[in-house]
């Protein structure tokens, strides 16, 4: 039992009165290449275990790796987007350690020769009112390429951990998927900002990866995962403390909470005059705490050496320049530009981003919808359906182009907002495009005066008292008659024309 775990947590704000946090972040990004880092196996998420494997990614005797050129390209583009230098010549190295998840018992990685190094990115914290606040520069030490390991499943125990399990299953589908590890230098921010900056940085990396199109960067699926390194030093001191490394934190909020928790935990240990143990830690989403993982002793020695089975990587300067030309607008600048173009308030923008709908709205606007209309559908009707079904907004079976199509039908007066919901029902149920759903379900608005006039006559006849009020000049009462007509016509009446007909008939 680690004595340090018994020390009380110190509240975050109080800890900062005595200690300064020293923080560094390592973010692993799974690249969205079609094939693995060193072989031609598919990388699809969620496939049946061990169906996307071959002698190479299983590390079978005799198998040899061959580098995936697309992964190199992605690595270079990520490096450039993070303002890094791109190595003229670099190599892979073997990182040797035994672990059942790891087919070869070494990981093919990069050690002293990363493909990208010495970069930076600026993160902007939100201000109180939801607008832009302070900007902090995060220095990037390196971004290097490596391969992912497989996954173990420990069966038969209470905790799902190896302890107490009666057997373990190994799934190597993930083994060999290309990863980029982005490592910051020590992040120099005021202690009270550390959790927010950490969160904003990881968020920004996610946006950047999506904008680059190199990864789906989904933290919930582990395709973007952050390790939080943290130590404390007494205020005013320059002596670095012992660090802990909280592994695989998998949401933006958890990154923030992990920093807060570790600051309090370290402070408790130091206040009690004890020593922080250098170790990796697990983060628990349920209560925001961390618990010890593997202890990292000084004896840990990965015995790195250049991978003799792979030729060195030497990207030509022409290629690097060409790739520089493919970089997208930086996400923060793009957001500012879109907010101005769309005339969104800070709050509109924050909600859109918060809902993970920025790209969906942008694409819907590109497809012809007005920005506010696009926002209304994605954050309203479709967000509700996403909540109801538990399917992510982006994974709903409807495209931004189809949403724009629905709005176009409204703008053309062929359907109204209520009918639009029925159209969404149809599209989501797989009945086809909005046009097809409208045709198949007969959802077009009726604006033919003959049919509408008859319905209006029947409504007046059925509601003589309402008709009298309107005749007396209380025009707001027309709503009740419109409602009656709508009800009769199952929502398909052109409400504007109905109103005009009512007023004509009762004037």
């Amino acid at each position: 039992m680690n004595a340090a775990t018994k020390t009380p947590l110190v509240p975050f704000d109080e800890a900062l009165t005595r200690y300064e946090p020293v923080m560094g972040l390592e973010v692993h990004v799974e690249l969205g290449t079609n094939t693995k880092m060193f072989c031609g196996c598919a990388t699809e998420f969620g496939a049946e275990p061990n169906t996307q494997v071959c002698p190479v990614c299983l590390g079978l005797p005799g198998a040899l790796p061959v580098v995936n050129a697309k992964a190199i390209e992605s690595a270079i583009r990520i490096g450039l987007a993070l303002n890094c230098e791109i190595a003229e010549w670099c190599r892979f190295a073997r990182k040797n350690y035994f672990y059942p998840d790891q087919p070869k018992n070494f990981q093919t990685s990069q050690y002293d020769e990363p493909i990208a190094f010495d970069g930076y990115t600026d993160v902007t914290l939100p201000s109180e009112d939801g607008g832009d606040g302070e900007v902090y520069r995060i220095e990037i030490e390196r971004a290097h390429m490596e391969e992912d390991t497989g996954k173990s499943l420990h069966v038969g125990g209470a905790t799902g951990r190896i302890h107490g399990a009666d057997h373990s299953l190994l799934d190597y589908n993930r083994a060999g998927i290309p990863l980029i590890e982005i490592v910051t230098r020590t992040i120099e921010v005021p202690g009270d900002k550390a959790p927010l900056v950490a969160r904003a940085y990881v968020n920004q990396l996610r946006d950047l990866m999506v904008a680059l199109g190199v990864s789906d960067a989904r933290m919930d699926q582990g395709s973007l995962r952050a390790d939080v390194n943290l130590s404390l030093k007494p205020v005013g001191s320059s002596t670095l403390g012992t660090r802990s490394e909280t592994k695989n934190v998998n949401s933006f909020r958890s990154v923030e909470r992990a920093v807060r928790y570790e600051v309090g935990r370290h402070a408790g240990i130091l206040d009690a005059g004890q020593k922080v143990v250098q170790e990796t830690r697990h983060f628990h989403e349920s209560d925001g705490t961390t618990s010890p993982g593997r202890e990292k002793s000084d004896a840990e020695d990965y015995r790195y050496f250049p991978e003799p089975d792979l030729a060195p990587v030497a990207p030509s300067r022409e290629w690097v320049d060409e790739l520089r030309g493919t970089l997208p607008e930086p996400p923060s600048e793009r957001r500012k530009r879109l907010q101005a173009e769309w005339d969104f308030s800070d709050l509109d923008m924050r909600d859109t981003i918060g809902a993970g709908a920025l790209e969906l709205v942008a694409t819907t606007v590109t497809a012809g919808a007005a920005p506010q209309a696009a926002r209304k559908w994605w954050l309203g009707e479709l967000a509700r359906r996403s909540n109801d079904t538990g399917v992510d907004l982006a994974d709903l079976p409807i495209t931004p182009e189809q949403v724009a199509g629905v709005q176009a039908l409204i703008d053309a007066g062929r359907i109204n907002d209520k009918l639009a919901r029925d159209v969404f029902d149809g599209v989501l149920a797989g009945e086809g495009t909005p046009e097809e759903v409208v045709a198949a379900r007969g959802l077009e608005v009726v604006s033919d005066d003959g049919a509408l006039g008859d319905a209006v006559d029947r409504a007046i006849e059925a509601n003589p008292d309402v008709a009298d009020k309107i005749r007396d000049g209380k025009l707001q009462a027309a709503g009740a008659l419109i409602g009656a007509v709508m009800k009769e016509m199952r929502g398909q009446a052109d409400a504007g024309r109905v109103r005009e007909l009512i007023l004509e008939k009762l004037s």
Partner: protein, 492 residues
């Protein structure tokens, strides 16, 4: 009797229909049944598979199909090279009974060229050794004297070819493991240029040094096999993407008139068996008579070759052999008296039981050489020596076309004679190691029997990278000038 034919002659007989591949293959199987009990050259014989492949070739030939030159000529494959349908053990208990789910590229090329695979040959465990005494399945024996070693690590392939069990065999050469056993059994062995033959599917010993190559009873046979297995393989990123040198043409030429041959000053004299030295000096004289220009050259860094090799090789070994951990294939041993061992304890117990002493020795050496704090002193220095050796080669090849030396300092020794002295055994590779460190090709050609031991002696030519054809030219010339000794029968 077809078993004593050179592959080129057998191929001619197959082509003109005087013998079928099934007959030739059956003759080899009969020969194996007769002599392999004494030799232990084969770890596995696949009579059924070989005869099926032979029958297929015969049928295609009967149907009038034009077939590759060696179609129908049987071959033996070192048991370090993956074969579907046949076990691949690497000479180790840790892989006992393992049948690979894929063919090595070289094996796929053999199959495509129609060579029936007779079986898998004995070797030092994971190719670690110079005598074949480190096989977990017992030593292979030298057909010239079964009380002696056949050389290593491709000792099984060498013995099989020398004893007429197979006309051709594949070996692998990391520090001399094709050339040295070739010399000790009186056959031809070639280590091609590094990257000239795919390593895909060949169980790695030391990735930056390993090379697959041909073993045969004539230089032309080796060249014919070389052309079957060589050439670019996209599955091996160290494979050379350039045309294969015309080695068959060079082997048919065999002319040293005007060829500048460098004699490496450092490879001779003290430490070299007098009988070996005498045969070598005679060979040099004959080459000179035939019109070669003999040039004395110095390669001072070669003396550090063994030291560098025994740092680089075990470093790579320690990493390459880490995958043998009982988790996915091969042996699994549960530690005694521990009903619920951890994964690490199972790995440790399995590796302890499954690896032999020499393998463990090299893993420990390599682990140490790569460990932080020692990396620069050992692995780093060894890499610098490699560079110096490559520079020595460049300088030498600025003066001469090929280098010539004895292949090994001694002839085959008695089983067990050097087993307690690994360092003495390591010295047997002194002449062959520099080629692996620099990636250049080498050939060993028989140059007679040593008068002090009555056993075969080999002469080695070395050439610049990708100039493998020079080796075959010089080797074929030497073969004509100094006929290979003929083994009458396996000597007990």
């Amino acid at each position: 009797m077809t078993t004593r034919l050179h592959a080129s002659d057998l191929a001619a007989q197959l082509a003109d229909g005087s013998v079928t591949s099934v007959e030739a293959t059956q003759a080899q199987l009969d020969r194996i049944a007769m002599v392999d009990g004494d030799l232990n050259a084969f770890l596995h014989v696949d009579a059924e598979g070989a005869l099926a492949a032979a029958a297929d070739v015969d049928a295609r030939r009967a149907a009038g199909e034009t077939l590759p030159t060696l179609a129908g000529v049987p071959i033996a494959v070192k048991d370090l090279i993956n074969t579907t349908g046949q076990p691949t053990t690497a000479g180790s208990k840790i892989l006992e009974g393992w049948i690979p789910p894929y063919d090595a590229t070289v094996v796929a090329r053999l199959r495509a060229a129609g060579l029936p695979i007779l079986g898998k040959t004995n070797l030092d465990e994971f190719a670690m050794g110079s005598s074949n005494e480190h096989s977990a399945y017992g030593p292979a024996r030298n057909p010239w004297d079964t009380g002696r070693i056949p050389g290593g690590s491709s000792g099984g392939s060498a013995a099989a070819v020398a004893a007429y069990e197979a006309p051709l065999a594949l070996g692998t050469d990391t520090g001399g493991s094709i050339r040295q056993p070739g010399a000790m059994t009186g056959i031809v062995g070639v280590k091609p240029t590094y990257g000239g033959v795919s390593r895909y599917g060949v169980i790695a010993m030391a990735s930056s040094l390993d090379q697959v190559g041909p073993m045969a009873r004539s230089v032309l046979d080796a060249a014919l096999l070389h052309e079957v297995i060589a050439g670019h393989d996209p599955r091996d990123s160290t494979s050379i993407d350039a045309p294969v040198p015309s080695v068959v043409e060079a082997a048919r030429r065999g002319d040293v008139a005007g060829l500048r041959i460098g004699i490496v000053r450092e490879f001779g004299g003290e430490g070299f068996q007098p009988g070996v030295q005498r045969r070598f000096d005679e060979a040099v004289a004959k080459l000179a008579e035939a019109g070669a220009e003999i040039v004395d050259v110095s390669c001072p860094s070669f003396q550090h070759g063994i030291a560098a090799y025994y740092l680089v090789m075990p470093s790579e070994v320690s990493s390459n052999l880490a995958r043998f951990d009982a988790m996915r294939y091969g042996l699994r041993v549960t530690p005694e008296g521990n009903p619920s061992p951890s994964a690490e304890q199972v790995m440790a117990a399995t590796r302890d039981a499954g690896f032999g002493d020499e393998v463990k020795r090299r893993i420990i050496l390599g682990t140490y050489a790569l460990s932080s704090g020692y990396y620069d002193a050992y692995y780093g220095s060894a890499q610098k020596v490699r560079t110096l050796i490559a520079q020595d080669f460049s300088a030498a090849f600025g003066q001469v076309d090929v280098l010539f030396s004895p292949t090994a300092p001694t002839t085959a020794w008695r089983l067990g004679e050097k087993s307690d002295d690994p360092l003495a055994m390591y010295l047997e590779d002194v002449c062959t190691i520099p080629a692996n460190l620099a990636g250049v090709p080498g050939i060993s050609v028989p140059i007679g029997l040593a008068d002090d031991s009555g056993l075969p002696v080999g002469g080695q030519f070395l050439a610049p990278a990708q100039a493998d054809d020079r080796l075959y030219n010089a080797g074929a010339a030497l073969e004509r000038l100094v006929p290979a000794p003929v083994l009458e029968e396996v000597a007990r």
